[in-house]
Symmetry: C2
């Protein structure tokens, strides 16, 4: 049996310490489930800037192509606030998405029963919440041309960005959303701003076409982005799968995550297109950032990173039962009362990053 | 004394019925406060489409220029879902903003003590919330060129919109925000997505410059739009004044409003630039939409429209004490237990649109 080839990119801030906990899970899988992993580690973000002067090297992109999947920590460091626009740490993740064609970002926003009280929303509003946001990640205003800042004849400036979506870009991400919905509650809500933006009008038309042609069994609705932000706060459980563009997805998925009250718990997957050889590039990362304020203290919550790895097992390696086991172990450890600082509550036992990691492996 | 010239544009859905209640307040001001009003009413949105085949006529724009202020209801009607992009009811408000140069949309998000429980957020998180969002409304991706949908050689399509901001557009809205902050808690948070968009980078630079040059006494912070959506849910009371572009402002101001649990209570003002003759075009509208589902039933909440009129007195006519009186009357009526359906709670007295309007005038 071939070893699983993983590229591990811990990045900045708490990235390295939470990624380390995944190492324990990998060791367990090798020992108890007969899997073998071939790990390659490299630098991205501020860590790469410090060592190589760029947020990501071409070599790392090549390694990502060669791997079965990429396990990503997080990038971003206020230390690099002064660098030029093309050198900022975030370029690492943007370039990985674009060069590997990672167009579908899957972001579950799920409320864990044990943590329902940590939300700022009333428990009755969020209990049992389970939304999947599918965000397009290689198009839209993030990558459209023309872009930049130009100086006008009078010395003042003009900043420009361009939102572009083509039929095929919309089709492929819509398909991912409809496919996912079939395995869930079979409902998709497509979000744009078609009352103001023509790109949103095209988005709505194309999603409607894909639905009619290939997924008539799935329930489809449409919502304006501003209304969606409101509905997420008023009645988030009305949603099953949401599908939207890059910029709206950035904002709405962060909003949805926050409803759960436990950002440190939420994983994500970003999937590319199936290649000629049947392989599909994919990257897995927690949705929390690099949290420089608590980095290096051993108090970060490793669960989002561990659940990102569970998504990797599920989507890239088709190891459903191993993924289920890890998710169950996380639930059990929470039920037993262990909590990292970010999700601490009265009467619970407060633990650090590695004790949480160990507890999850022990539970396995 | 010259009469106050108002252009009244009730629009669609519940617009006409809530605007009608403002009529009572105007009558009271004429009788008790010695003011005289000269009202002109006209059609916009679906109502104008039905009568004239366009969402707004040039004549209405001219009347808006001639007026001291515009009192707007709301536009939007699912009946007109099929019309072409340039004829949709929303064009009425977009055109008024653009043609009158109404660049600064002021949207307070305030929690009324009597209604703190109607939020889906925990009372402890939103009690006393009082944010002012200043949204730029004549620039950004709403109006940038090129825009549209083009057909590619292979028959597929491409939708395009352009985000553009110039130094002067950013300066003038930043000034409005800093000025407002001085009359409040003296703090401004500027929101963009400068880690991905150059237009956001320029936004941040210009706001920083305006601050350093003219408002060093105001506290300024910067936040990414995705993080801002999260912070609004996690800890909304950290904010005083938020200033942001058209698209982010659309989403974030709706989000902020929803935190209050009472959309039917929230007014807005949209201000233009001072003209050579000292006049300043301005439009006042509730932030709730046309709510076609409850239109014509006499159950809509008229308070947001009435408070929009109070903002008109305050910002366009400098009638501070009259504005204060109306705001106080609204608080008192709520404290006395009257509620329209949207804010109904146990033990309160449920009333319709006109009983609520009458009660507020009686309180005056
Ligand atoms: C780091 C940043 C460029 C990124 C984005 O805006 O896409 C992040 O916010 C995310 O959501 O993954
Ligand atoms: C009606 C619509 C065009 C408008 C907008 O998107 O600006 C509305 O949502 C608003 O916020 O005033």
């Amino acid at each position: 049996k071939q070893p699983v080839k993983l590229l591990v990119l811990p990045g900045d801030g708490i990235g390295p310490e939470v990624v380390r906990e995944v190492g324990r899970i990998i060791a367990w899988l090798e020992k108890k489930r007969g899997l073998t992993f071939e790990l390659t580690e490299d630098l991205v973000g501020g860590a790469s800037l410090a060592e190589y002067g760029v947020p990501i090297r071409d070599e790392v992109i090549e390694k990502a192509w060669a791997a079965d999947a990429v396990l990503f920590g997080s990038v971003g460091d206020p230390k690099w606030g002064h660098v030029s626009f093309d050198k900022r740490p975030e370029v690492a993740i943007l370039k990985l998405r674009q060069e590997l064609g990672l167009f579908a970002n899957l972001r579950p926003a799920k409320v864990f029963d044990a943590l329902v009280d940590s939300s700022t929303l009333k428990p009755d509003v969020v209990r049992g919440l389970d939304i999947m946001i599918v965000r397009e990640t290689v198009g839209g205003i993030y990558f459209g041309d023309p872009r930049g800042i130009e100086t006008l004849p009078d010395g003042s400036k003009r900043g420009i960005n361009t939102e572009v979506y083509t039929t095929s870009e919309i089709q492929r991400v819509a398909r991912v959303a409809f496919d996912l919905a079939r395995k869930r509650d079979n409902r998709v809500c497509s979000v744009e701003k078609c009352n103001v933006m023509e790109s949103g009008l095209l988005w709505k038309e194309v999603v409607t076409d894909v639905h009619a042609r290939d997924f008539p069994d799935v329930e489809l609705s449409h919502m304006l982005a501003d209304n969606c932000a409101m509905q997420l706060v008023r009645n988030p459980r009305q949603f099953d799968v949401l599908v939207t563009g890059n910029l709206f997805g950035d904002i709405l998925s962060d909003l949805a995550s926050t409803l759960t009250g436990s950002l440190g718990m939420l994983p994500s997957a970003t999937l590319g297109a199936e290649q000629a050889d049947g392989r599909r590039p994919a990257l897995y990362e927690p949705i929390h950032g690099s949290a420089p304020d608590i980095a290096g203290q051993g108090i970060a919550n490793p669960i989002a990173q561990i659940l990102s790895f569970a998504m990797l097992l599920r989507y890239s390696l088709n190891l459903q039962s191993e993924a289920d086991m890890i998710e169950q172990a996380v639930s059990n450890v929470l039920a037993s009362g262990l909590r990292t600082a970010d999700i601490m509550a009265e009467g619970m036992a407060r633990v650090g990053t590695s004790v949480m990691g160990e507890a999850i492996v022990r539970e396995l």
